[in-house]
Every structure is written in C-alpha cells, then in structure tokens.
C-alpha cells in the first residue's frame, strides 16, 4: 500500500471512530430526552442549548468520580472486562459501508473502512466476543447479582444469535455474498428492491434478535434492575461503568447501521443512481445512511419506553420455539424459490 492510501485509511478510521463516539454521546442525550418526552416531561434541557451538552457534563462526572474496586473481586479480569466489551463494540463498525464510492486525489475511495470478504461473519463474530466482556464482568465481580446478569447474557446471546444468524442467511442467499458492499449493491434500484420488502420475515426476526443481542428492552434481562440491582455492572463505578455504558450504546449504533445495511439498502437512496452522480451522489448516499440509521436508533429508544421486559422463560420460549423455526422455514422458502427460479 502506498503512502496516500495509508493516509486515506487512517482518515477513514478516524472519521468512523469519532462519528461512532459522537453518536454514542448523542444517544445518551437522546435516550433521556426522548424518554422524558414520551412521559410528558422535558428531560435534560439546562446544559447548553436544549441540554445538548448534557452528555459532556455526564462524561466529566464519570471521569471525576471515585474509582472503587471492591475488595473480593478477581482484579485482572475485573479490570479487563470493560475493555473486552468496549473494543469489539467499536471494531464492528469497520466493515459497514456508510456511503458509495467517492473520487479523491484521482482514486476511487469506497466509504467503508475495511471491505472484508466475510463482512457479515466478522460482525457476528465480534458481537459474540463482546459477550465475554459481560460474562467476565459478572464473574470477576464476585457478586451474585453480577454473576446472574452475566450468565443471563450468555444464555440470551446463544438463544438469539442463532435466530439472528439464520435470518441473515436468507439475505446472504439473495445477495450471493458475505460482503456487505455486495449486499448493499444488490438492493440498489427501485424502492421495493430493498431486502425488507423481499425478506420481511427475516427482517422481523433480525430486528427482534438485535434487541436481544444489544441487551436492550424488552430483552434487558442481564441488567433487569428490579431483580439484579444492575446486572453485570453492579460492582463497577466511575469510568469503568461508563465504558460498559459506551459499549452498550456503541453496540446499538452498530446494530442500527447493520439493520440498515442488510435490510434497508444501506446507503442507497431510492430511485437514484448514486455511483453515476460523483461527489454529490456520495454525499447523498452518506446522508441517506445517516438518516436511516438515526431512525433505527430512535426505534431502539422508542421500543425501550413502550414495551415491558420479558420474563426469562418467555424470552427463551420466544427465542427457541418461535424465532428459530421461523428463521429456518424462511431459509427453506428462500432457498427453494431461488433454486426453482434458477432451474428455469
């Protein structure tokens, strides 16, 4: 790789990383504000215009707080766990294409940090690694609440990752590739070519599984504060708690972006051919991607403040008895349809 290519990659990494972190900050603010609005309150509106600087005040508060390490914890693992959760959460965004190709300094620059051949598998693998952070945090804390929270998260992950993976399989069948860029290009064209219209069942399964994967309500059994105090992060304070917090929101950002990429045409603007429009097309595609992702991030908050939490057996029943068979049937139907049409 030449020097210019290296610089471009570095800039892309920097942009994607800071955009993700900024979105996380905005999500912390939006969560509080939207929940307040839905409850007829105003929410934080004092720090900065409309309270927009509230997350910065929160961040300073986290940094200044006393960092307590409880006496009986397994120290190395206790200290490692937040990083084990946060780092994969920030890494997953690397393969998501956030715009079409742009021409810079006479070369084509795809708006994506890394165009991996196994993009989807990379994301699924990293989200699975992330759960180690939860389990280790729960175990190393040496507290029953944390332990139950950690165990629940692993059980929940296994039950829902299957359904999630299988629902993605039907999308992969349609695109014929694991590359996220190819999946996006496959959905180009008119509005109905988005996968959400071709694969509505897979979309629903994926959406529900994503909420379970990110430990968001109605599936936030791992931190169910009424039962488990705070779940896996009960014993964490100060910036280490903030790292768990950041990881949760970073996971949400990635999940929303992935939902858009897989089912809503990624950076595709309906009825528009972005690649033939040059720089304007690239900007439009990035805007379209941001808008769609923002909608799914709003949906995360919206759902959280609408639905009550599942009971644990209901969660397992839904995962194993409904989502998994449904995803399998969906793959069967999709595969059968593709085979029949290719035979002609």
């Amino acid at each position: 790789m030449d020097f210019l290519g290296f610089v471009i990659i570095c800039v892309k990494v920097l942009v994607v990383f800071s955009a993700t972190m900024l979105t996380v900050l905005m999500m912390v603010y939006a969560e509080r504000r939207v929940s307040a609005f839905m409850q007829g309150r105003l929410g934080p509106n004092r720090v900065g215009p409309q309270g927009l600087l509230q997350p910065i005040a929160d961040g300073i508060k986290f940094l200044m707080k006393e960092d307590i390490i409880p006496a009986e914890v397994n120290k190395p693992i206790y200290l490692l766990a937040p990083a084990m959760l946060l780092i994969p959460a920030l890494m997953t965004f690397a393969v998501i294409p956030f715009g079409s190709t742009i021409t810079l300094f006479g070369r084509e620059v795809p708006l994506q940090v890394a165009d991996l051949n196994v993009g989807i598998l990379y994301i699924l693998a990293l989200t699975s690694i992330g759960v180690y952070g939860l389990v280790l945090a729960g175990w190393a804390s040496n507290s029953k609440y944390s332990l139950i929270g950690g165990l629940r998260s692993s059980a929940q992950l296994i039950s829902y990752e299957l359904a999630m993976g299988l629902s993605v399989v039907s999308v992969i069948l349609l695109a014929g590739s694991l590359k996220l860029n190819v999946i996006v290009e496959d959905q180009q064209g008119y509005l109905l070519s988005w996968n959400v219209f071709k694969q509505p069942v897979a979309f629903l399964i994926f959406l529900v599984a994503v909420y379970a994967e990110t430990n968001r309500l109605p599936f936030d059994l791992t931190e169910a504060e009424q039962e488990l105090v705070g779940g896996y992060h009960t014993e964490y304070s100060s910036m280490k708690f903030a790292m768990f917090f950041t990881a949760e929101y970073a996971n949400m950002v990635t999940a929303a972006a992935l939902t858009v990429t897989l089912f809503f045409g990624g950076w595709d603007v309906p009825l528009l051919n972005e690649t033939s429009m040059g720089a304007l097309g690239a900007i439009l595609s990035v805007l379209s991607f941001i808008l769609k992702t923002a909608f799914f991030l709003f949906l995360f908050i919206w759902v959280r403040w609408t639905f009550p939490r599942f009971r644990y057996d209901q969660l397992m029943k839904l995962g194993w008895k409904v989502m998994l068979p449904l995803a399998l049937i969906n793959i069967f139907v999709t595969g059968g349809y593709l085979t029949l049409t290719s035979l002609r």
């Binding site: 839905m38 409850q39 007829g40 309150r41 105003l42 629903l204 919206w302 609408t306 639905f307």
Partner: protein, 178 residues
Amino acid sequence: MATIVKSYEPTFWDRLYLPALAKGLAVTLKHFFRKKITIQYPDEKYVPPDGYRGLHRLNKYPDGKIRCVACEMCSAACPADCIHIIPGPSPWEDGKERFPVRFDIDLLRCIFCGFCEMACPEEAIELTEIYDFSNYTRDDLLIDKEGLLGVYELTKDTNYYSRPNAGQDSEALTSDKF
C-alpha cells in the same frame, strides 16, 4: 344462576402480537408530541387557583386604615396557636375602639387551614396565593403587622404570580418583607 363466562380466544392476528406492538408504539409516539406538563419552577411559576391557602395578609380599607379590630377571634380559632395579637386603642376616630398594636404570625406553626379568615368578623385577615416564601432562618419566618400589610399591597390588585414582573419581586419578598 350460574353464568358461563367465555374467555377470549385470541385469533391468529392477535397471536402474531405485531398489531398490538404497533398500537403500543403509536401510543408512546402520540405522547412524544404531546404538550409537556413540566413547569420549569424558578423560571415559570405555577399560578394557584382562587381559594388557594398560602401566605396571610392583613386587609386595609381604601382610605388606608387597617380593617383589623384586634378582637382575637382569629387567634382563638387557630388550631395551631400561631397568631399573637397585642391590642391597643384605635388611633382613628371612626367608631372602632380597638386596633392591633402588634399582629404576629408564626408561619412555622401555621397549618394554613384558613380558620382565621373564616373566623374574622371584619374580613381583615385573608390567605393569599403566595406559596414560595421559604427562608433561611426561623426568625425570618415570623411575620409581623408590617409584613402582613406589605403582602396586602403585593396581592390586592392582581394574582401574585401573574404580575408583570413576578420573577424578580418574589426574591424581594423573602429577604426584606419579614
């Protein structure tokens, strides 16, 4: 007679749960755009309705004479024993013999029941709509005759909280009125 209550059999559409989920989301979205009920207290103030029982005042006649005749009906009616009156001869030649030399109310004891204004034969003592008169010392919450007459001046024409400069004046009330 026994009646058979048929339990509701969920249809296929019900068992999908998706319409119900959409309905739930619609409810929260409706609330999202609804008017917020928060009153941003120090900036905006709640305006109590008529008949609210807040801080007391001593009424005057239009010519400036105090209505109170120091009959001590109010302090007799007071269940909290918070009204202390020292009567004296009236300074005015208007047929009324008595006049309060001192009229003190211990706001820390007062339970704001309004019995004093009901007992008053001259409609002299009245409860106003003022509710935010907290202070830093106990002494500052003993209100005397001048203080009560001052509250009358503040509240005789308009509702205390809908005056044009409601924000700044309330600070003045706590610091120098008592």
